[in-house]
Amino acid sequence: MCLGIPGQITAITDESRLMAMADVSGVRREVSLAPVADRPLCELVGQWALIHVGFAMAIIDEDEAARTLEALRDLGEAQETLEAMAEGAKALEGTQ
């Protein structure tokens, strides 16, 4: 459960709260940029990040993102994370 998953930052959703939309293997998820907000947030749009429990923990390059995703898919961790994101959405509605 300590593994991050690569996702691409697609838009800033709330500048003051450092929130952004990310695309994680085709799933859209709002994430916090707090750990990587040492630069103008607009520069992060289009970049790849290692996302762990909803936080962009490190900016990585596209090749690293692809290789990490492949390793996580091999381990079944990518699917587990995507399922956890779906569970999280249900938890908000109290429909688990």
Partner: protein
């Protein structure tokens, strides 16, 4: 298990395996007198089994599976405390899904949910914050679990709650740290460890310097590693090269993700919100000095321990492990999972008795998943 020809770069994998074999021979490691290399992180344990690296490397290399699976080292008493909080009137208890099936003395969170407690699996503490915003008349508690990779997320969440004045949000903090159990294992006279594969994503947060003591005080090599099979093979080769050269250093094989000094914003949030407990209990390992975190008094309003009067009170609350459960011996590498009398009998991934069978990062679950009956017979 994959065959080496299926690796992304089979030529490199073969070259690394030959290099490992050459160094192991040079050091004089054999099946009977192997080098004990501990991979600390549960994600690495999972990868080693998934890719069959333990079988591919020279038989003078023995992987010892470390304590780096947060769910696996969670004592039963902590699970009981979660249930105690979750069953309070008006509480919505939120947790990572990984913790749902960990058995406590009164069953698991999954069973408490089935009994009617409002327990919700979330992906992120941000989800728990949002649940608190949407349910102002309920007390929303998030189970803060995990190592330094996860700790920043709950620290940022508590800071956000404080900024918003979100009084119905709190964290039940059970965060733990990686370096301290390594020190405890190195101080254990029964342990024989020759080198370490350091965790990748934990190190992305804390950097490589917290491991300096391993090299400087204990004279053992440690290499921080990525999660691809090639990363792991390369890291094993780097550990062996240090041993062969008579060196003990902290090396970083995963520099493309792990900065030497970690992630400054995450470290700042951790030190703003959390302080060390004098000691903390680890399932299978017992009390370890300074290995757990608690919420600072400045954030007491967001501390579920303070809010509910439930929480860590030291060894007096220890709950004995189930009869025959050998998680402690497996965790410290004294026995293989298959040597536990309960392995595959009273304890399976479907009905885990011990925590190492719960998570795919636990050594027993990994043995079971990739070894199966073969693993049990070995």
């Amino acid at each position: 298990m994959k065959h080496v020809t299926e690796f992304r770069d089979p030529t490199l994998a073969k070259a690394l395996l030959s290099e490992i074999a050459r160094l192991a021979d040079q050091i004089g490691a054999t099946r009977d007198t192997p080098l004990h290399i501990m991979e600390v992180c549960g994600g690495h344990t999972h990868a080693i089994f998934r890719f069959g690296l333990d079988k591919l490397v020279h038989d003078g290399i023995a992987f010892i599976h470390g304590p780096g699976c947060p769910v696996c080292v969670l004592p039963m008493a902590r699970v009981d405390e979660c249930i105690e909080i979750a069953e309070r009137e008006g509480v919505i208890f939120t947790t990572f899904g990984d913790a749902m099936r960990v058995p406590g003395a009164r069953g698991s969170l999954m069973q408490a949910k089935a009994r009617g407690a409002d327990i919700r699996m979330v992906y992120s503490p941000l989800d728990a914050l949002e649940i608190a915003r949407r349910n102002p008349d309920r007390d929303v508690v998030f189970f803060g679990l995990g190592f330094e990779t996860t700790t920043p997320s709950t620290a940022f969440a508590i800071q956000a709650a404080a900024r918003e004045g979100l009084a119905n949000f709190s964290v039940f903090c059970n965060h733990i740290t990686v370096p301290e159990p390594i020190r405890a294992l190195l101080n254990d006279p029964h342990m024989k460890l020759d080198g370490f594969i350091g965790p990748g994503h934990v190190s992305m947060v804390i950097g490589t310097h917290p491991y300096d003591f391993i090299a400087q005080e204990f004279g053992k090599p440690i290499v921080v590693a990525g999660f691809e099979p090639i990363d792991l093979l390369q890291s094993v080769a780097m550990v062996l090269r240090q041993i062969a050269d008579g060196r003990a250093e902290v090396e970083n094989q995963y520099a493309r993700v792990v900065p030497e000094h970690g992630n400054p914003a995450s470290l700042a949030a951790i030190s703003d919100v959390y302080m060390r407990r004098p000691s903390f209990e680890w399932r299978g390992l017992g009390e370890i000095d300074a290995s757990g975190l608690r919420i600072r008094p400045a954030y007491a309003a967001y501390d579920a321990e303070e809010k509910f009067g439930v929480g860590y009170a030291g060894a007096t609350r220890n709950v004995p492990e189930p009869e025959g459960c050998a998680c402690g011996a497996v965790m410290t590498g004294r026995i293989k999972p298959t040597a536990c009398p309960q392995y595959g009998k009273g304890c399976t991934p479907e009905m885990p008795l011990g925590a190492l069978m719960v998570s795919s990062e636990g050594a027993c679950a990994a043995y079971w998943q990739y070894g199966g009956a073969r693993g049990a017979a070995a």
